[in-house]
Amino acid sequence: MREEARQTALRGTAAESGLLAVTLGLRLLGFGPVLILALLIVAASVGVPNFLKPINLGNILAQTAVIAIVAMGQQMVILTRGIDLSVGSNLALATVVGGLVYQAGGGGLAVIFAMLAAGMAVGAINGLVYVYGRLPHPFIITLAMLSICRGLALELAPGHTTMRGMPEAVKFLGGQTTLGVPNAFFVVVVVALLILMLTYAMVWGRWTYAVGGDPVAAREMGIPVRGVLISTYVFSGLCAGIGAVVLSGRTGASSPIYGNLLELDTIAAVIIGGASFLGGRGHLGHALIGAVMIGVIRNALNLLNVDIYFQMIAIGGVIVLAVEADVLRNRLEARARVLQAAKT
């Protein structure tokens, strides 16, 4: 009898220390992306000439802004177990719509409004067709919209090509600096604060996590799952529209070929940053860290004159690592659950 009690106690402490190890591992995985980003920056500072120059840092911020903004929208979609492949084409279409409004005599506000509205409209189509078309996965509709928006942008743009000219307000947001900091950076901050409020302080955000965590349970708990899903695609579209404003502002133009492969960059940013591809887990910090990582890798390899093809390979490799980290995290959690049960 005493032997049995001793055995139980022993098992208890073994579980306890095992649990500690697993929890520690999970913590490390959580910090992984930040650590890697820090290492990247240190390595680039030491190994890449001109990397730390203020003008280059400003460049990184400006170049990363569009990816960061659109990635934050992508992150909301991935949070609900979805994916938005249309963001790049959506952004291009939004710039073209804005450019047309400008050519028709629209002022700064009208152009900005047109770009945001175009982005949200595309997002709404994504969400509505996905939900009410009863598609098995948003992959299909957003892939279709990737093609449709690009085609539409090319069709709408006069001469199927770039249109010069943007109103001052747009150029201010996307292309100018305040106290040496690109204004695009402040746009990123504003979008981030908006998402922070939506996801941490408001009911809608809680619902997005619930739907991503378990869509069936979400329905059983009375959450309007369809509405939540549609709204995340509209939100992603809005972010593409904001990205369009920033990019048009930086280039002073609109073009049907903008945003090529932006869907890849944004999905990569979210995953590299450490959000879960399986849904329900992740926050805007992941999208931002991932976007900066991609920006830093690109910039450093550029300065080192590494050709663009190798950059693509490098970023692809990082994505694979990040997804493996996600898988590992899920396994550790399952392990923690077993140990927890053994302990009690």
Partner: protein
């Protein structure tokens, strides 16, 4: 008191070729535990989900206090005071116990905003949830950690606790002790007694005949989607009950 809190009348439910419920009628009364029994695949969970608004009946109706109720969504059923502990628990692994408690019925403000745009009153929700978990003596490793890290028993305890908090009329528990050890099972059974004492109509699904005999005031038996009998369980007619469930002629 002569009207049942919940009645199901002539319920029919098909999933394609599967006829999951055939002309099922049953009542559940306030202050009573009604056991819903049947073998695997008998249609118990389907009936529960029809009442909780997850499925819609193909035919038949559901009455609450004698009045026809339109429970065409889980939100409507919860609004009508029907709480459910689902067989799959319906817990969110990525949320904490308190967040799980209030998921779908968050306390938010200001009231004039549409629900999704209200601000979460996290402090109130944490306080209430902590009080309930304390009162029910559910032992949790960490109150602010996601449910993902918790054991099967702890998860089940959270799901049952959630239903007990919000119960106002009818509480349905679909195999609430399935993952539990003896000690935890006992706690859930105590909770059921409490729910009943508070005047709820409790519907309990279980495969454990001892629990049925101990707790249930009446038992409804389903076999292959059809109601095959109803009786008052006791130690004496336990064998009859089992025979009814498996369909062997006694």
């Amino acid at each position: 008191m002569s009207v049942p809190a919940l009645s199901v009348r002539n319920a029919e439910k098909r999933f394609g070729a599967i006829h999951a419920l055939r002309d099922v009628s049953m009542d559940a009364w306030r202050g009573e535990v009604t056991a819903l029994l049947g073998d695997n695949g008998a249609g118990k969970s389907t009936l529960v989900k029809c009442i909780s608004g997850v499925h819609r009946l193909d035919e038949g109706e559901i009455l609450l206090d004698g009045r026809p109720a339109h429970l065409n969504s889980p939100a409507a059923a919860r609004g009508a005071g029907i709480e459910t502990v689902y067989q799959d628990l319906a817990l969110f692994d990525n949320l904490t116990p308190a967040q799980n408690f209030y998921c779908g019925r968050e306390i938010g403000f200001p009231a004039w905003l549409p629900r999704p745009l209200r601000f979460l009153d996290k402090r109130a929700m944490n306080r209430e949830a902590a009080a309930v978990i304390d009162r029910l003596q559910v032992r949790l490793p960490k109150f602010d950690a996601p449910v993902a890290m918790m054991s099967g028993g702890q998860r089940q305890a959270i799901a049952v606790a959630r239903a007990t908090v919000f119960a106002r009329n009818v509480v349905m528990l679909d195999e609430p002790t399935a993952a539990l050890g003896l000690r935890e099972s006992r706690k859930v059974l105590d909770l059921i007694v409490k729910l009943k004492a508070e005047g709820n109509a409790v519907i309990l699904i279980t495969h454990n005949m001892e629990h049925v005999v101990e707790l249930a005031d009446r038992a409804v038996v389903l076999r292959q989607g059809t109601k095959v009998g109803e009786l008052k369980p006791s130690a004496q007619n336990r064998q009859d009950l089992v025979a009814m469930i498996v369909g062997a002629e006694a």
